[in-house]
Symmetry: C2
Amino acid sequence: MAKNITPREEDYSQWYLDVIKAAELADYAPVRGCMVIRPNGYSLWEMIQKHFDEAFKDTGHVNAYFPLLIPNSFLEKEADHVEGFAPECAVVTHAGGEELEEPLVVRPTSETVIGHMYSKWVQSWRDLPILINQWCNVMRWEKRSRLFLRTSEFLWQEGHTAHATKEEAMEETLKMLGVYRKIMEEVLALPVITGEKSEGERFPGADNTYTCEAMMTDKKALQAGTSHFLGQNFAKAFDITFQSKEGTLEYAWTTSWGVSTRLIGAIIMTHSDNDGLIVPPNVAPVKAVILPLGAEEAKVTELYEPKAQELAATLNDILGKRSVKVDTNYHMRPADRFFYHLQRGVPLRIELGEKEYSKESVRLVRRDTGERFDVSWDRAPEVVKETLEAIQANLYKRAKDFRESNTHFVESFDEFKKVLAEKGGFIKAYFAGSKEDERAIKEETMATVRCFPLDEEHARGKCFYTGKEGARLAIFAKAY
Amino acid sequence: MAKNITPREEDYSQWYLDVIKAAELADYAPVRGCMVIRPNGYSLWEMIQKHFDEAFKDTGHVNAYFPLLIPNSFLEKEADHVEGFAPECAVVTHAGGEELEEPLVVRPTSETVIGHMYSKWVQSWRDLPILINQWCNVMRWEKRSRLFLRTSEFLWQEGHTAHATKEEAMEETLKMLGVYRKIMEEVLALPVITGEKSEGERFPGADNTYTCEAMMTDKKALQAGTSHFLGQNFAKAFDITFQSKEGTLEYAWTTSWGVSTRLIGAIIMTHSDNDGLIVPPNVAPVKAVILPLGAEEAKVTELYEPKAQELAATLNDILGKRSVKVDTNYHMRPADRFFYHLQRGVPLRIELGEKEYSKESVRLVRRDTGERFDVSWDRAPEVVKETLEAIQANLYKRAKDFRESNTHFVESFDEFKKVLAEKGGFIKAYFAGSKEDERAIKEETMATVRCFPLDEEHARGKCFYTGKEGARLAIFAKAY
């Protein structure tokens, strides 16, 4: 077990921070609540971006960039929106040596300024739909921060679309939720439950919010991404109108959807162990590392290392540029070199020492299971590829099994409280309560409605809390 | 000639803005001095990013992310730096509903906060070099803004490296200048002169600044990118020290280097014409567009369009995903469809009408020269590729010829003023003047020292201004 990592059974929060520190993913910034994303963390974010960005483009979206600073008056145009975000805003009051006439807020999200621009760009039904995404930084002031999960500044993408009809906007909202789910499951190996948020958990200004909810290894829920059907709320606040085919003037229907650097927190808390980080191969910047090893320096540098470089070149052709590295830190002891990559979550270690070299083989060591086996040089590329696929599949399955074995169905509030206290995890229950009921449940149990799962959207039963019949199935949990 | 674009001979500034508007590259943000980068402009930035980012990684750099907000006190730690940047800063004074104890500036550049982090990360010579780059937004408050060239907020990359020796840091400074030049010339088709900045034009806090200077079609200079040798100034201000191999405690040597969305302005003002934008194929998000054309709708949609889609698929395999599009805007007149792509700078138009279809050919029309010719379907992929290469080469040659024919050597200040007034352009002259001389020349002529070109760094002669012998060769020009 790693000495620099607190066991997660002992202190989950400390374990999380220790994993980040050992893997050099992030550090604290000098400004309270802000973080520095170090190269190992940022390369993970680049991989996440690459996959989402490609999927956005495949579904017809284009990227743009809107300004960081938003006039305070914009926020106030949508009543729920300003109530939700104003308390968290950082405010620029001076610039260029002078006091500004109107304070500017650092964007906490960009519905308002984008709505303003769309009202300029949209005249006719031919200008719709607008399918724009933005990758940027946003700021929501936090008193109590936690690296990746809750920081005053974070990186994210925010998609903002405008449509001619309600149906089309709703279709977009659910389509992007599906895109999120697919990438979270297939690339990040995060099993998620997609569903509709309850009234109490909606985005400020949305008619409906849909979410991807994941279970962390402490059995708490993490909201991994959201997609909002904004109805005509922002179109009305910012006057996004268009002339329809029939010649009438109509308000547009808008959506927004986002995922953030929080996903790095989700990866850490879904896959990692007491030795440190584990990264699923499909999102790992470095998928495998090859280590020439041995006591005789001449053999290591003149024989094993060239062979390792040759193998790395072959693997990089198959797996993608820079995805396989050769470790030449010969000044470190072999055990320290192993540990270095183990703590950084590299999915596969490939050892090439004297014994392997003499047999024209390498030794593969899986990060997820610790399993090790030899493979000949000529079969290595194929086996490495297959092994990475097996690791990816195993991480997903392990996480999904964990979630399923920690999801419990309850029929009464007493049972709810008992299961939550004794077992934790996700609680499934029919629920027809109000926003006030949600608040009461949260106050008593700390658990919130995570969502009404779409996979079971037609299930109906008796509400565990109010006793009403015909209630929808909900998932409750304590959440990040 | 385009009705929506002012001829550049008539009003160059208005021409520039009209080109941007017609191509939908950018728009004004509601906050004064800020811009919105629209999808057509942002996709150009993504192409620019892709090429630079790949080159940074090929030279061993990694990306990271540092915080947007910097404590005001950090800026004050480097005397020249604060003097240069403080007057341009936007300042956050309130956050989370409270007044902050210390005001925070929105980063105008990140030497200070990165210096602070490096001092935490660097202990031993083994921790060096640090080769980090950051892609982000920065803010420098502008009273008078101009889209892409001078806006209060812009996007850029800033590389920040730390080294154990002076030589290594200087090598890095010049290496990145070379990387910049190569991509500007080979991808953006911008011929640039690389050279050292004069004392009066250095980055605040740098020992030396190196630059890439390009000539726009109004003969003014545009600084396209800079690379700074920061000496030990920031290492001393932020205490970046390390234990050397020999066991002594040393200050690190640092560099920084950046290019920004200003490059989009450079592309516009180097290649475009009175019809609108022209984008060099290597940086064009859309390299070619195929237009099915004809009076008989059935033939267009059932015969020409499927053939166009087939050809686009073949071309996208060769040229890159999404780089060739099919235009199906049949509700527009053919001339309007042509003009649409012309104004957006698409390098190559491919027409497929009845005549072409019957001959199993397509018609290619070059954006740069207007040249048009037919090519058979089977030869089209090869010829399109070659034609794009020819356009790229032609745009570069045209710009380089223009710069060369507008560069003049002078030997006296009278000649300097005469040439500048009558011909404009770049003025080459031996110069050994002081910072005060630079200021006097600027006041009288509006021209500044752009750089001492590296390609002619050993040339020496008599200073045109002071008469001193042994002066270095300099380039002067009016500049953006």
